[in-house]
Amino acid sequence: MIRLEKRPQSSHTWSMATPLVAVLATMIFGGALFGILGTNPLTAIRTIFFEPLFGEFAFYYRPQLLVKGAPLVLIAIGLSLGFRAGIWNIGAEGQYIIGALVGAGIALAFYPLDAWFVFPLMIIGGAAGGMAWAMIPALLKVRFGTNEILVSLMLVYVAEQFLASMALGLMKNPEGFGFPGSRNLQEYESAHNAELITGTGMHLGVVFALIAVIFAYVLLNRHMLGFQIRLTGDAPRAARFAGVKPARLILFCLGASGALAGLAGLFEVSGPAGQVNIDFNVGYGFTAIIVAFLGRLHPVGILLAGGLMALTYIGGEIAQGQLGLPSAAIQVFQGMLLFFLLALDLLTNYRFRLTRGEVA
């Protein structure tokens, strides 16, 4: 008889290995799914994972890796802080939208002024906007004990409506011939989040993402607050006895993740996306949840996971064009990855034992 037994200590090896095994399992089952949809599984997997990096047009796709990876890493780093402490911000998509709106709003207010301070102001505004949006569930949780999961998620729908209202009303381009959407910020020098080195995809958001990774690493490993976050997640009772103030942690974790999501939104709207429009958000806020878990809530892991997830986005687009694979198939693929990851996590904390005779 096979029995499940709790490990005295969680296994370090398995903790490292599960993401890799999960990716492998997703490739196999995802390939099977693509097979059912009528594409050759091997071709599909090759197109998604190898074409963007080593294919004929890799020179075009490689920069995209940074463009798509940066917002995912920025958001996921913020989310991972809260997830570690059992504080669940799942409304990053809303904070991303609000950050973009505040940042773009500042830019549009200054248009067409040509000044050095416009972009820094937008960065501050984007972070503040995202943070303020995340502070709503944070303050409600601290003050009234309201469930932060539901509130942060409800606010995504509110933010989406708000975005629609802005794109069709207040922020609409007066010279846009009646089309929805704001002025294109790529054409406004002072507000454009341009590539730092042309042709690399390296914009300021990528730099911020890397800085966020380093900060999160130092915070979690070297700082008292990071220790309190980890302690609260691993042993809530011990944390209480050690004098950790839950309210402070909630405000910090939600505020930080909101600010980072807001930044991600700002860099997207002022760079790759270019304008505020009804559908400018593409669900990075939700995909970042997968990235955070795939990276095992560890800053370096998240960096790698963000790259991998960006790869599936780009590869998915190529597969759409070349193989006619539906875009939803990639979404399923990404969801599948999270499933395998959560299921295989069992092996980190438990082990299988063969036992003889009866079991109590």
Binding site: E5, S165, A328, I330, Q334, G335, N349
Partner: protein
Amino acid sequence: MDLSAINPVLLIASLMVAATPLLLAAIGELVVEKAGVLNLGVEGMMIVGAISGFAISVETGSPYLGFLCAAIGGAVLSLLFVILTQYALANQVASGLALTLFGLGISSLMGQSYVGIKPPATGEIWLPILSDLPVIGPIFFQHDPILYFGIALVAAVWVLLKYSRFGLILRAVGENHDAAHALGYKVVRVRTLAILFGGACAGLGGAYISLIRVPQWTEGMTAGVGWIALALVVFASWKPWRALIGAYLFGGITVLQLNLQAAGVAIPVEYLAMSPYLITILVLVILSADKSSAPAALGRIFHASN
């Protein structure tokens, strides 16, 4: 603006229709949470139910077969949640999110060839004298059978939880799974059944949106109803009849804001469309002060070795 364009009788009648998907999903989740499991995948199970019900009823021409398959579809998806949380002992919050993300993806994959099609109509019941009554007839007695099934389900769940032996075991498992295990009850089995029931109910609720309420298929058409259903369970303090009241309240808000949009009120459409979500937050704030009625073992992982 023309408020007189809003017909109160039609308003109340459509309120009941708008409330039914919420009610079905919420009553399922209520049973799940009573068993001590927090399944945040309601939205995903609803949307999968919406498309499986839609697809089957279009293919077979029978809406009832569609509803049946929607329930099965929702339950199959919730089976994944069972495997993750009951057997792989994964975190319930993360697993629920995974279920929603996966469900949204798989539903749009399944629904590609069904965009823009009209489903077969679900007939309305017709009771000889009652349905002909003025005012009361159109409000209460001219609906589809699924709406009445939803109300009957609330009554059934209430009786089951309160008066049956199985209900007592289910509540015991939800309050203290270690004690229930020590008494010899099969914690995992009870929870599995509860989760499957919740999945089937969510699937039914989703199909109600795609087959009756809208009725057509569009990607992501549940638009947060699953999440509002989760909030509704908190609102109801885990009591079936209060879930019914709550669902009608939320249904009323949804219908009212749609009517106000149609009547051309001076408030922009987007702000009216926000209102159900904002009111959900408001209700959560008001009710979150009292957590005494929440099942004590809600969201905790059970493993017999602990």
